[in-house]
Symmetry: C2
Subunit: 241 residues, 2 copies
Protein backbone atom coordinates (compact mmCIF):
# COMPACT_ATOMS: atom_id res chain seq x y z
CA UNK A 1 0.00 0.00 0.00
CA UNK A 2 1.05 3.62 0.37
CA UNK A 3 3.13 4.18 3.51
CA UNK A 4 3.05 7.97 2.98
CA UNK A 5 -0.71 7.93 3.31
CA UNK A 6 -0.58 5.92 6.51
CA UNK A 7 1.74 8.50 8.11
CA UNK A 8 -1.08 10.98 7.92
CA UNK A 9 -2.51 8.86 10.65
CA UNK A 10 -5.84 8.23 12.14
CA UNK A 11 -7.51 11.53 11.37
CA UNK A 12 -7.31 11.30 7.59
CA UNK A 13 -8.39 7.71 7.60
CA UNK A 14 -11.43 8.52 9.76
CA UNK A 15 -12.39 11.27 7.36
CA UNK A 16 -11.97 8.83 4.50
CA UNK A 17 -14.15 6.27 6.25
CA UNK A 18 -16.91 8.79 6.72
CA UNK A 19 -16.69 9.75 3.03
CA UNK A 20 -17.10 6.09 2.11
CA UNK A 21 -19.95 5.74 4.57
CA UNK A 22 -21.64 8.83 3.10
CA UNK A 23 -21.51 7.61 -0.49
CA UNK A 24 -22.80 4.21 0.58
CA UNK A 25 -25.67 5.94 2.38
CA UNK A 26 -26.48 7.96 -0.72
CA UNK A 27 -26.60 4.73 -2.70
CA UNK A 28 -28.95 3.20 -0.13
CA UNK A 29 -31.16 6.31 -0.34
CA UNK A 30 -31.24 5.96 -4.11
CA UNK A 31 -32.13 2.31 -3.56
CA UNK A 32 -35.04 3.33 -1.37
CA UNK A 33 -36.27 5.80 -3.99
CA UNK A 34 -36.05 3.12 -6.69
CA UNK A 35 -37.92 0.60 -4.54
CA UNK A 36 -40.70 3.14 -4.01
CA UNK A 37 -40.73 3.87 -7.77
CA UNK A 38 -41.16 0.16 -8.53
CA UNK A 39 -43.85 -0.36 -5.92
CA UNK A 40 -45.80 2.68 -7.20
CA UNK A 41 -45.42 1.44 -10.78
CA UNK A 42 -46.91 -1.92 -9.78
CA UNK A 43 -49.80 -0.15 -8.07
CA UNK A 44 -50.40 2.06 -11.11
CA UNK A 45 -50.92 -1.06 -13.23
CA UNK A 46 -52.89 -3.02 -10.67
CA UNK A 47 -55.19 -0.08 -9.89
CA UNK A 48 -55.07 1.24 -13.48
CA UNK A 49 -54.20 4.61 -11.90
CA UNK A 50 -53.03 6.95 -14.66
CA UNK A 51 -52.30 9.82 -12.26
CA UNK A 52 -49.86 7.70 -10.30
CA UNK A 53 -48.37 6.35 -13.54
CA UNK A 54 -47.67 9.87 -14.80
CA UNK A 55 -46.09 10.95 -11.52
CA UNK A 56 -43.69 8.01 -11.62
CA UNK A 57 -42.58 8.79 -15.15
CA UNK A 58 -41.69 12.29 -13.91
CA UNK A 59 -39.85 11.13 -10.80
CA UNK A 60 -37.50 9.12 -12.96
CA UNK A 61 -35.52 12.37 -13.47
CA UNK A 62 -34.76 12.59 -9.76
CA UNK A 63 -33.37 9.08 -9.74
CA UNK A 64 -31.21 9.91 -12.76
CA UNK A 65 -29.85 12.93 -10.88
CA UNK A 66 -29.01 10.74 -7.88
CA UNK A 67 -27.06 8.38 -10.12
CA UNK A 68 -24.94 11.20 -11.54
CA UNK A 69 -24.27 12.66 -8.10
CA UNK A 70 -23.16 9.36 -6.57
CA UNK A 71 -21.06 8.54 -9.60
CA UNK A 72 -19.27 11.85 -9.20
CA UNK A 73 -18.73 11.30 -5.49
CA UNK A 74 -17.14 7.95 -6.35
CA UNK A 75 -14.85 9.52 -8.97
CA UNK A 76 -13.73 12.12 -6.44
CA UNK A 77 -12.96 9.44 -3.86
CA UNK A 78 -10.95 7.49 -6.42
CA UNK A 79 -9.01 10.59 -7.45
CA UNK A 80 -8.37 12.02 -3.99
CA UNK A 81 -8.24 9.04 -1.68
CA UNK A 82 -6.79 6.42 -3.99
CA UNK A 83 -8.47 3.58 -2.12
CA UNK A 84 -7.04 0.07 -2.22
CA UNK A 85 -8.27 -3.46 -1.51
CA UNK A 86 -11.74 -3.62 0.06
CA UNK A 87 -12.21 0.17 -0.04
CA UNK A 88 -11.58 0.14 -3.77
CA UNK A 89 -13.96 -2.78 -4.17
CA UNK A 90 -16.62 -0.83 -2.26
CA UNK A 91 -16.30 2.20 -4.53
CA UNK A 92 -16.41 0.06 -7.67
CA UNK A 93 -19.39 -1.93 -6.34
CA UNK A 94 -21.23 1.32 -5.66
CA UNK A 95 -20.48 2.66 -9.18
CA UNK A 96 -21.91 -0.53 -10.67
CA UNK A 97 -24.87 -0.79 -8.31
CA UNK A 98 -26.13 2.74 -8.95
CA UNK A 99 -26.16 1.95 -12.63
CA UNK A 100 -28.36 -1.09 -11.97
CA UNK A 101 -30.58 1.01 -9.72
CA UNK A 102 -30.97 3.60 -12.44
CA UNK A 103 -32.02 0.87 -14.88
CA UNK A 104 -34.55 -0.46 -12.37
CA UNK A 105 -35.94 3.08 -12.20
CA UNK A 106 -36.12 3.17 -16.02
CA UNK A 107 -37.92 -0.15 -16.22
CA UNK A 108 -40.32 0.98 -13.48
CA UNK A 109 -41.11 4.07 -15.54
CA UNK A 110 -41.86 1.76 -18.49
CA UNK A 111 -44.22 -0.24 -16.31
CA UNK A 112 -45.90 3.00 -15.22
CA UNK A 113 -46.34 3.90 -18.91
CA UNK A 114 -48.19 0.61 -19.36
CA UNK A 115 -50.29 1.51 -16.29
CA UNK A 116 -51.31 4.75 -18.01
CA UNK A 117 -52.16 2.90 -21.24
CA UNK A 118 -54.13 0.22 -19.44
CA UNK A 119 -56.12 2.83 -17.53
CA UNK A 120 -56.95 4.58 -20.83
CA UNK A 121 -58.27 1.30 -22.17
CA UNK A 122 -60.37 1.14 -19.02
CA UNK A 123 -60.30 -2.60 -18.80
CA UNK A 124 -58.26 -5.21 -17.02
CA UNK A 125 -56.67 -7.50 -19.54
CA UNK A 126 -56.12 -11.16 -19.07
CA UNK A 127 -52.82 -11.93 -17.44
CA UNK A 128 -53.40 -9.55 -14.64
CA UNK A 129 -52.85 -12.20 -11.96
CA UNK A 130 -49.55 -13.25 -13.51
CA UNK A 131 -48.36 -9.65 -13.52
CA UNK A 132 -49.28 -9.05 -9.90
CA UNK A 133 -47.53 -12.20 -8.77
CA UNK A 134 -44.33 -11.63 -10.73
CA UNK A 135 -44.28 -7.99 -9.60
CA UNK A 136 -44.39 -9.00 -5.96
CA UNK A 137 -41.55 -11.48 -6.36
CA UNK A 138 -39.35 -9.08 -8.30
CA UNK A 139 -39.88 -6.27 -5.78
CA UNK A 140 -38.75 -8.56 -2.98
CA UNK A 141 -35.62 -9.51 -4.97
CA UNK A 142 -34.70 -5.83 -5.26
CA UNK A 143 -35.29 -5.27 -1.55
CA UNK A 144 -33.25 -8.32 -0.59
CA UNK A 145 -30.37 -7.33 -2.87
CA UNK A 146 -30.20 -3.90 -1.24
CA UNK A 147 -30.41 -5.40 2.26
CA UNK A 148 -27.56 -7.77 1.37
CA UNK A 149 -25.49 -4.75 0.31
CA UNK A 150 -26.31 -2.81 3.47
CA UNK A 151 -25.25 -5.76 5.64
CA UNK A 152 -22.35 -6.93 3.41
CA UNK A 153 -24.03 -10.34 3.43
CA UNK A 154 -22.69 -12.57 0.63
CA UNK A 155 -24.95 -15.48 1.46
CA UNK A 156 -28.10 -13.37 1.28
CA UNK A 157 -26.76 -12.01 -2.02
CA UNK A 158 -26.28 -15.54 -3.34
CA UNK A 159 -29.89 -16.32 -2.39
CA UNK A 160 -31.01 -13.35 -4.53
CA UNK A 161 -28.94 -14.54 -7.48
CA UNK A 162 -30.49 -18.00 -7.15
CA UNK A 163 -34.04 -16.69 -6.76
CA UNK A 164 -33.71 -14.76 -10.02
CA UNK A 165 -33.82 -18.11 -11.84
CA UNK A 166 -37.33 -18.67 -10.43
CA UNK A 167 -38.39 -15.25 -11.64
CA UNK A 168 -37.15 -16.13 -15.12
CA UNK A 169 -39.17 -19.35 -15.08
CA UNK A 170 -42.28 -17.58 -13.87
CA UNK A 171 -41.80 -14.95 -16.57
CA UNK A 172 -41.55 -17.68 -19.22
CA UNK A 173 -44.78 -19.27 -18.12
CA UNK A 174 -46.59 -15.91 -17.92
CA UNK A 175 -45.43 -15.14 -21.46
CA UNK A 176 -46.86 -18.41 -22.71
CA UNK A 177 -50.21 -17.59 -21.08
CA UNK A 178 -50.23 -14.20 -22.81
CA UNK A 179 -49.64 -15.84 -26.18
CA UNK A 180 -52.60 -18.13 -25.51
CA UNK A 181 -54.81 -15.16 -24.59
CA UNK A 182 -53.86 -13.39 -27.79
CA UNK A 183 -54.57 -16.43 -29.91
CA UNK A 184 -57.94 -16.97 -28.26
CA UNK A 185 -58.96 -13.36 -28.74
CA UNK A 186 -57.02 -11.58 -31.48
CA UNK A 187 -58.80 -8.30 -30.73
CA UNK A 188 -56.94 -8.30 -27.40
CA UNK A 189 -53.49 -8.45 -29.04
CA UNK A 190 -52.46 -4.85 -28.61
CA UNK A 191 -53.79 -4.75 -25.04
CA UNK A 192 -52.13 -7.99 -24.00
CA UNK A 193 -48.88 -6.88 -25.65
CA UNK A 194 -48.80 -3.93 -23.25
CA UNK A 195 -48.95 -6.33 -20.37
CA UNK A 196 -46.31 -8.47 -22.04
CA UNK A 197 -43.95 -5.47 -22.15
CA UNK A 198 -44.66 -4.81 -18.49
CA UNK A 199 -43.84 -8.43 -17.66
CA UNK A 200 -40.64 -8.14 -19.66
CA UNK A 201 -39.69 -5.03 -17.68
CA UNK A 202 -40.19 -7.02 -14.48
CA UNK A 203 -37.94 -9.77 -15.76
CA UNK A 204 -35.27 -7.15 -16.50
CA UNK A 205 -35.60 -5.72 -13.02
CA UNK A 206 -35.00 -9.21 -11.65
CA UNK A 207 -31.78 -9.34 -13.73
CA UNK A 208 -30.64 -6.03 -12.27
CA UNK A 209 -31.36 -7.28 -8.73
CA UNK A 210 -29.19 -10.27 -9.56
CA UNK A 211 -26.43 -7.95 -10.82
CA UNK A 212 -26.54 -6.02 -7.55
CA UNK A 213 -26.29 -9.30 -5.64
CA UNK A 214 -23.19 -10.16 -7.69
CA UNK A 215 -21.62 -6.80 -6.88
CA UNK A 216 -22.17 -7.60 -3.18
CA UNK A 217 -20.44 -10.98 -3.52
CA UNK A 218 -17.53 -9.30 -5.33
CA UNK A 219 -17.35 -6.71 -2.59
CA UNK A 220 -17.50 -9.12 0.35
CA UNK A 221 -15.61 -12.10 -1.02
CA UNK A 222 -13.38 -10.37 -3.55
CA UNK A 223 -14.64 -12.79 -6.19
CA UNK A 224 -16.05 -11.67 -9.48
CA UNK A 225 -18.93 -14.08 -9.87
CA UNK A 226 -20.66 -12.77 -12.94
CA UNK A 227 -21.24 -15.50 -15.49
CA UNK A 228 -20.55 -18.18 -12.85
CA UNK A 229 -22.66 -21.27 -12.51
CA UNK A 230 -24.71 -20.76 -9.35
CA UNK A 231 -24.07 -24.23 -7.90
CA UNK A 232 -20.30 -23.81 -8.18
CA UNK A 233 -20.72 -20.39 -6.69
CA UNK A 234 -22.51 -21.69 -3.60
CA UNK A 235 -19.60 -24.09 -3.04
CA UNK A 236 -17.06 -21.30 -3.41
CA UNK A 237 -18.85 -19.03 -0.99
CA UNK A 238 -19.03 -21.77 1.59
CA UNK A 239 -15.37 -22.72 0.97
CA UNK A 240 -14.31 -19.14 1.45
CA UNK A 241 -15.92 -18.96 4.90
CA UNK B 1 -1.53 15.97 -8.08
CA UNK B 2 0.77 13.51 -6.36
CA UNK B 3 4.26 15.02 -6.34
CA UNK B 4 5.78 11.82 -4.97
CA UNK B 5 4.61 9.98 -8.01
CA UNK B 6 6.02 12.58 -10.35
CA UNK B 7 9.45 12.24 -8.77
CA UNK B 8 9.56 8.69 -10.05
CA UNK B 9 9.96 10.38 -13.37
CA UNK B 10 9.49 9.51 -16.96
CA UNK B 11 10.04 5.78 -16.80
CA UNK B 12 7.14 4.98 -14.48
CA UNK B 13 4.82 7.26 -16.37
CA UNK B 14 5.71 5.62 -19.67
CA UNK B 15 5.01 2.23 -18.18
CA UNK B 16 1.71 3.55 -16.90
CA UNK B 17 0.84 4.91 -20.32
CA UNK B 18 1.47 1.58 -21.93
CA UNK B 19 -0.70 -0.13 -19.31
CA UNK B 20 -3.51 2.28 -20.14
CA UNK B 21 -2.94 1.76 -23.84
CA UNK B 22 -3.04 -2.03 -23.34
CA UNK B 23 -6.33 -2.04 -21.48
CA UNK B 24 -7.84 0.26 -24.07
CA UNK B 25 -6.67 -2.11 -26.80
CA UNK B 26 -8.24 -5.04 -24.97
CA UNK B 27 -11.50 -3.13 -24.84
CA UNK B 28 -11.29 -2.45 -28.59
CA UNK B 29 -10.63 -6.15 -29.21
CA UNK B 30 -13.68 -6.99 -27.14
CA UNK B 31 -15.57 -4.42 -29.20
CA UNK B 32 -14.48 -6.16 -32.40
CA UNK B 33 -15.61 -9.54 -31.05
CA UNK B 34 -18.99 -8.09 -30.07
CA UNK B 35 -19.43 -6.46 -33.48
CA UNK B 36 -18.76 -9.82 -35.14
CA UNK B 37 -21.19 -11.49 -32.71
CA UNK B 38 -23.92 -9.02 -33.68
CA UNK B 39 -23.27 -9.29 -37.39
CA UNK B 40 -23.36 -13.12 -37.22
CA UNK B 41 -26.57 -12.97 -35.18
CA UNK B 42 -28.19 -10.82 -37.85
CA UNK B 43 -27.07 -13.29 -40.53
CA UNK B 44 -28.40 -16.23 -38.52
CA UNK B 45 -31.87 -14.67 -38.57
CA UNK B 46 -31.75 -13.43 -42.14
CA UNK B 47 -30.48 -16.78 -43.47
CA UNK B 48 -32.45 -18.79 -40.86
CA UNK B 49 -29.11 -20.53 -40.18
CA UNK B 50 -29.49 -22.55 -36.97
CA UNK B 51 -25.85 -23.74 -37.00
CA UNK B 52 -24.58 -20.18 -36.96
CA UNK B 53 -27.16 -19.26 -34.32
CA UNK B 54 -25.96 -22.03 -32.01
CA UNK B 55 -22.30 -21.08 -32.45
CA UNK B 56 -23.02 -17.49 -31.46
CA UNK B 57 -24.83 -18.55 -28.31
CA UNK B 58 -21.69 -20.46 -27.34
CA UNK B 59 -19.27 -17.66 -28.15
CA UNK B 60 -21.05 -15.43 -25.69
CA UNK B 61 -18.95 -17.09 -22.95
CA UNK B 62 -15.74 -15.78 -24.52
CA UNK B 63 -17.08 -12.25 -24.50
CA UNK B 64 -18.07 -12.63 -20.85
CA UNK B 65 -14.52 -13.74 -20.06
CA UNK B 66 -13.11 -10.68 -21.85
CA UNK B 67 -15.31 -8.42 -19.75
CA UNK B 68 -14.05 -9.93 -16.49
CA UNK B 69 -10.42 -9.72 -17.58
CA UNK B 70 -10.62 -6.08 -18.63
CA UNK B 71 -12.53 -5.19 -15.49
CA UNK B 72 -9.77 -6.73 -13.40
CA UNK B 73 -7.05 -4.91 -15.37
CA UNK B 74 -8.89 -1.66 -14.63
CA UNK B 75 -9.16 -2.44 -10.90
CA UNK B 76 -5.42 -3.17 -10.81
CA UNK B 77 -4.62 0.11 -12.53
CA UNK B 78 -6.82 2.01 -10.08
CA UNK B 79 -5.19 0.29 -7.11
CA UNK B 80 -1.57 0.49 -8.26
CA UNK B 81 -1.38 3.61 -10.39
CA UNK B 82 -3.97 5.77 -8.70
CA UNK B 83 -4.73 7.67 -11.89
CA UNK B 84 -6.12 11.19 -11.79
CA UNK B 85 -7.96 13.53 -14.17
CA UNK B 86 -8.19 12.26 -17.73
CA UNK B 87 -6.41 8.97 -16.93
CA UNK B 88 -9.00 8.25 -14.26
CA UNK B 89 -11.78 9.17 -16.67
CA UNK B 90 -10.31 6.77 -19.23
CA UNK B 91 -10.27 3.87 -16.76
CA UNK B 92 -13.83 4.61 -15.61
CA UNK B 93 -15.04 4.97 -19.21
CA UNK B 94 -13.49 1.59 -20.05
CA UNK B 95 -15.13 -0.09 -17.03
CA UNK B 96 -18.51 1.24 -18.14
CA UNK B 97 -18.02 0.55 -21.83
CA UNK B 98 -17.08 -3.12 -21.37
CA UNK B 99 -20.28 -3.56 -19.45
CA UNK B 100 -22.26 -2.16 -22.37
CA UNK B 101 -20.30 -4.35 -24.77
CA UNK B 102 -21.12 -7.40 -22.69
CA UNK B 103 -24.81 -6.51 -22.82
CA UNK B 104 -24.60 -6.10 -26.60
CA UNK B 105 -23.12 -9.60 -26.72
CA UNK B 106 -26.00 -10.88 -24.57
CA UNK B 107 -28.62 -9.26 -26.77
CA UNK B 108 -26.89 -10.66 -29.86
CA UNK B 109 -27.08 -14.13 -28.34
CA UNK B 110 -30.82 -13.57 -27.83
CA UNK B 111 -31.17 -12.61 -31.48
CA UNK B 112 -29.26 -15.76 -32.44
CA UNK B 113 -31.70 -17.78 -30.32
CA UNK B 114 -34.52 -16.30 -32.41
CA UNK B 115 -32.56 -17.25 -35.54
CA UNK B 116 -32.51 -20.86 -34.35
CA UNK B 117 -36.25 -20.79 -33.61
CA UNK B 118 -37.10 -19.19 -36.92
CA UNK B 119 -35.05 -21.79 -38.79
CA UNK B 120 -36.91 -24.57 -36.94
CA UNK B 121 -40.19 -23.07 -38.07
CA UNK B 122 -38.73 -23.16 -41.58
CA UNK B 123 -40.58 -20.11 -42.71
CA UNK B 124 -39.82 -16.43 -43.02
CA UNK B 125 -42.29 -14.47 -40.99
CA UNK B 126 -43.68 -11.14 -41.96
CA UNK B 127 -41.60 -8.29 -40.66
CA UNK B 128 -38.44 -9.66 -42.08
CA UNK B 129 -37.64 -6.49 -44.03
CA UNK B 130 -38.09 -4.34 -40.92
CA UNK B 131 -35.72 -6.55 -38.99
CA UNK B 132 -33.02 -6.46 -41.65
CA UNK B 133 -33.17 -2.71 -41.92
CA UNK B 134 -33.11 -2.01 -38.19
CA UNK B 135 -30.30 -4.54 -37.76
CA UNK B 136 -28.13 -2.74 -40.29
CA UNK B 137 -28.68 0.64 -38.64
CA UNK B 138 -28.00 -0.65 -35.15
CA UNK B 139 -24.81 -2.43 -36.21
CA UNK B 140 -23.49 0.79 -37.68
CA UNK B 141 -24.29 2.66 -34.44
CA UNK B 142 -22.19 0.15 -32.50
CA UNK B 143 -19.33 0.46 -34.97
CA UNK B 144 -19.45 4.25 -34.90
CA UNK B 145 -19.53 4.35 -31.09
CA UNK B 146 -16.40 2.20 -30.93
CA UNK B 147 -14.65 4.30 -33.59
CA UNK B 148 -15.48 7.43 -31.63
CA UNK B 149 -13.89 5.85 -28.55
CA UNK B 150 -10.78 4.80 -30.48
CA UNK B 151 -10.32 8.33 -31.81
CA UNK B 152 -11.53 10.17 -28.67
CA UNK B 153 -13.97 11.96 -30.93
CA UNK B 154 -16.76 13.64 -28.92
CA UNK B 155 -18.56 14.99 -31.97
CA UNK B 156 -18.77 11.57 -33.62
CA UNK B 157 -20.01 10.25 -30.26
CA UNK B 158 -22.70 12.91 -30.14
CA UNK B 159 -23.80 11.88 -33.64
CA UNK B 160 -24.24 8.30 -32.36
CA UNK B 161 -26.31 9.50 -29.41
CA UNK B 162 -28.50 11.51 -31.76
CA UNK B 163 -28.88 8.67 -34.28
CA UNK B 164 -30.17 6.37 -31.54
CA UNK B 165 -33.37 8.44 -31.51
CA UNK B 166 -33.96 7.42 -35.15
CA UNK B 167 -33.43 3.78 -34.24
CA UNK B 168 -36.04 4.12 -31.49
CA UNK B 169 -38.52 5.62 -33.97
CA UNK B 170 -37.87 2.89 -36.51
CA UNK B 171 -38.31 0.28 -33.78
CA UNK B 172 -41.65 1.81 -32.81
CA UNK B 173 -42.93 1.67 -36.36
CA UNK B 174 -41.66 -1.91 -36.85
CA UNK B 175 -43.47 -2.93 -33.66
CA UNK B 176 -46.71 -1.47 -34.94
CA UNK B 177 -46.33 -3.43 -38.18
CA UNK B 178 -45.83 -6.64 -36.20
CA UNK B 179 -49.02 -6.01 -34.25
CA UNK B 180 -50.89 -5.57 -37.53
CA UNK B 181 -49.45 -8.85 -38.87
CA UNK B 182 -50.54 -10.68 -35.74
CA UNK B 183 -54.04 -9.26 -35.91
CA UNK B 184 -54.38 -10.15 -39.57
CA UNK B 185 -53.22 -13.71 -39.02
CA UNK B 186 -53.58 -14.87 -35.40
CA UNK B 187 -51.94 -18.21 -36.25
CA UNK B 188 -48.72 -16.25 -36.80
CA UNK B 189 -48.71 -14.76 -33.29
CA UNK B 190 -46.05 -16.93 -31.72
CA UNK B 191 -43.82 -16.69 -34.80
CA UNK B 192 -44.14 -12.93 -35.12
CA UNK B 193 -43.53 -12.54 -31.39
CA UNK B 194 -40.12 -14.15 -31.89
CA UNK B 195 -39.29 -11.49 -34.40
CA UNK B 196 -40.68 -8.87 -32.05
CA UNK B 197 -38.26 -10.02 -29.34
CA UNK B 198 -35.41 -9.85 -31.84
CA UNK B 199 -36.42 -6.30 -32.78
CA UNK B 200 -36.54 -5.40 -29.11
CA UNK B 201 -33.01 -6.78 -28.66
CA UNK B 202 -31.87 -4.54 -31.52
CA UNK B 203 -33.44 -1.53 -29.86
CA UNK B 204 -31.57 -2.38 -26.65
CA UNK B 205 -28.31 -2.68 -28.55
CA UNK B 206 -28.93 0.80 -29.92
CA UNK B 207 -29.32 2.04 -26.32
CA UNK B 208 -26.00 0.46 -25.35
CA UNK B 209 -24.29 2.08 -28.35
CA UNK B 210 -25.69 5.37 -27.11
CA UNK B 211 -24.33 4.65 -23.62
CA UNK B 212 -20.87 4.01 -25.07
CA UNK B 213 -21.10 7.30 -26.97
CA UNK B 214 -21.93 9.05 -23.69
CA UNK B 215 -18.91 7.47 -22.01
CA UNK B 216 -16.76 8.87 -24.84
CA UNK B 217 -18.17 12.38 -24.32
CA UNK B 218 -17.51 12.09 -20.57
CA UNK B 219 -13.99 10.93 -21.30
CA UNK B 220 -13.13 13.62 -23.85
CA UNK B 221 -15.05 16.57 -22.48
CA UNK B 222 -15.17 15.67 -18.81
CA UNK B 223 -18.93 16.14 -18.89
CA UNK B 224 -21.35 13.54 -17.68
CA UNK B 225 -24.05 13.79 -20.31
CA UNK B 226 -26.32 10.93 -19.40
CA UNK B 227 -29.92 12.04 -19.15
CA UNK B 228 -29.10 15.31 -20.94
CA UNK B 229 -31.28 16.74 -23.64
CA UNK B 230 -29.42 16.16 -26.91
CA UNK B 231 -29.94 19.67 -28.29
CA UNK B 232 -28.49 21.28 -25.17
CA UNK B 233 -25.70 18.77 -25.38
CA UNK B 234 -24.75 19.74 -28.92
CA UNK B 235 -24.51 23.37 -27.77
CA UNK B 236 -22.31 22.42 -24.84
CA UNK B 237 -19.96 20.35 -26.94
CA UNK B 238 -19.54 23.16 -29.41
CA UNK B 239 -19.12 25.72 -26.59
CA UNK B 240 -16.44 23.58 -25.02
CA UNK B 241 -14.34 23.56 -28.20
Amino acid sequence: MNSQAEDHGHHISQQFNSELEAVKNHMMEMGGAVEKQLSDALTSVVDADSGLGKRIMKEDDEIDAMELKIDEECSLILARRQPAASDLRLVLAIIKTVRDLERIGDESAKIARMGVKLSEEGEFPEGFVEFKHLGKNVASLVGNALDAFARYDAEAALAVAQADADVDKEYGSATRSMITYMMEDPRSISRVLNLLWALRALERIGDHAKNIAEHVIYLVKGMDVRHENLDNLADQIVDAE
